[in-house]
Symmetry: C2
Subunit: 347 residues, 2 copies
């Protein structure tokens, strides 16, 4: 049997996936499902949504029973709802999926396993439930000890600027070149894609850097661990997570991610974004605590809100100003960033 | 009835206290009990320890029944054991205390409420259990919004350098001068002393700065919140906690704490301590994100491992070099630090 991810009870879940959109109100609400469909289209055989749901991933609409007959293994709750709570209809749809012999995985704050009806349906059908925002195994305190292997971490001027996309684009680019490189997931969408990882913002505060050490352990095969960053050192709500992740990752290389038109820190109109140079400098200073040899190797610019022409102009301007390759990983790729990584950092 | 602290089930616990030492092996193992006995001697009526226990707080030895007859309200599990786990004898002693009508509070990692025998004895006797390393109420995400009031935060070159002692010494000094000033606890010993607080290293990583905002809310009475710091920006295991606490506290004033003879970061022989000046500078830069007006107002030096003469010489040298008052809060007090605080920061 295909082994993808493990639930805390050591059942397995994995592709092929049916992506649950439910009654999602807008595109932002299906961000997790979209990430999975974008990065692993070959794993996503259909979407399951309410008749009145307008957002779409362009996948065939399927009921759980149809998806199961078509070979689906797992239904992914890929919607974000207000407060992360499951609507009554969502609970009913999850039970329908379990009754159709699908496993169910979720990135919501409200846990599948905290709902007695869902747990009963899973038990009755012998199905696996997996909550990606939970990490049940013991995490050690960070040791700060230098470990073998090469690691890259994506960092950001803000939350939600493209750190996961950038990290996955670098993995794809390096693998195409025949290099050993593994995406290490730190958030729920990344965990669905990788089949493993730790949701670092959901661990106990004392163990943030320990979690980063755990997801990117020593490796002796000359390969790279590519670690998905979270938050920003300049976000007043979440900077502790970003700093612990930076220290625990002991990165050899940093890639700074930025969204070109962002007006203020996410959710906080009073907080302007940091400048790219000062953001990079602050991250380098902090990262040197656990790896004095850390280097910045590129800038990943999310240019989705500007014209192609403006995007290229912005990349040229930033590349020149910071003396680092600058690209939009989605529209331009990350070839020049990977070139620079290999010339700067590889043994 | 005296209202001191609240347990998650909203029973109350508080002084007078019986301090449990059990079979503690050395002085380090009774650190929590010693902090309570040092700062609140009037609340501590006795100590309860095994016949072969050598460490002592100099309090009368009492069995729970004697302590209860003498007016004790609560027994404090003030020992640190390997891995934070309760020995079988400790469990039996806790049940003896509950049967003697004492409430029981603990700072161990292993929770009182996770032990079925302890919970049964508490229920049977109508007693309150309180685990200080747990925080059951909902914590909001940090908002970063400026709030009314004045706040001081103690920061450190390392863990365990005297941040709690310094914060409490400043509270005592300010109150003696007739100023409004309140210690805000962020660790278990501080929570026992204050009767309230949040163990910030035990909250979910996304909520560190939110926890700091919660324990030092807006105040309009011209008083000061004095927030107990945790960890160090330079400790690779715990810096995330320190940064979140720094951002959420929005401190107007920082006091840097340092232990004079510390050879390396706690538990990490490979990591030297940061210099005082660069540690202060890194904290000021990070703190400016949420309070651009933050100032350093003093250095609190733990000189317990050197002679009185060497201690005074070190304070003079540091005060001159950093142009800030420098004192040992335990042996010298904090008068000059409070003088500087009031002249620098008070409205």
């Amino acid at each position: 049997m295909f082994k993808h991810g493990e639930a805390a009870d050591h059942g397995h879940w994995g592709p092929p996936f049916l992506l649950y959109l439910g009654g999602a109100a807008d595109d932002l609400a299906i961000k997790t499902a979209r990430g999975l469909a974008y990065w692993r289209p070959e794993w996503c055989i259909g979407q399951y949504r309410d008749p009145e749901c307008r957002p779409t991933l362009g996948l065939p609409d399927m009921e759980p029973a149809q998806a199961s007959a078509a070979g689906a293994n797992t239904m992914v709750i890929g919607t974000a709802s207000a407060g992360g709570v499951m609507a009554r209809q969502t609970v009913a749809d999850i039970i329908t999926a379990l009754n159709a012999n699908l496993n169910v995985i979720s990135g919501l704050h409200e846990k599948l396993r905290d709902n007695a009806d869902i747990v009963a349906a899973a038990t009755r059908n012998g199905r696996t439930l997996f909550d990606a925002r939970e990490y049940a195994q013991r995490i050690p305190v960070g040791s700060g000890r230098k470990r073998a292997g090469q690691r890259l971490l994506t960092i950001g001027t803000d939350c939600s600027v493209g750190k996961m996309y950038t990290t996955l684009a670098i993995e794809r680019c390096m693998r195409k070149r025949g290099l050993k490189a593994d995406f290490r997931a730190t958030g729920q969408t990344g965990i669905f894609i990788a089949g493993a990882g730790i949701p670092v913002d959901a661990v106990i505060a004392d163990f943030i850097s320990g979690a980063a050490e755990l997801i990117s352990p020593a490796r002796e095969d000359d390969g790279w661990d590519l670690i998905e960053g979270q938050g920003s050192l300049f976000h007043p709500s979440y900077a502790g997570v970003s700093l612990g992740l930076l220290h625990g990752s002991q990165p050899d290389a940093l890639v700074l991610c930025h969204e070109l038109t962002r007006q203020h820190m996410r959710g906080l109109p009073g907080y302007p974004l940091p400048g790219l140079a000062s953001c990079l400098e602050a991250n380098l200073i902090a990262a040197r605590l656990t790896n004095p040899a850390v280097k910045a190797v590129g800038i990943a610019l999310n240019t989705s809100n500007v014209s192609e022409r403006a995007a290229h102009a912005a990349c040229r301007e930033i590349a020149e100003r910071l003396d680092l390759p600058c690209e939009d990983p989605v529209t331009m790729g990350v070839e020049s960033i990977v070139d620079n990584l290999l010339s700067c950092c590889a043994h």
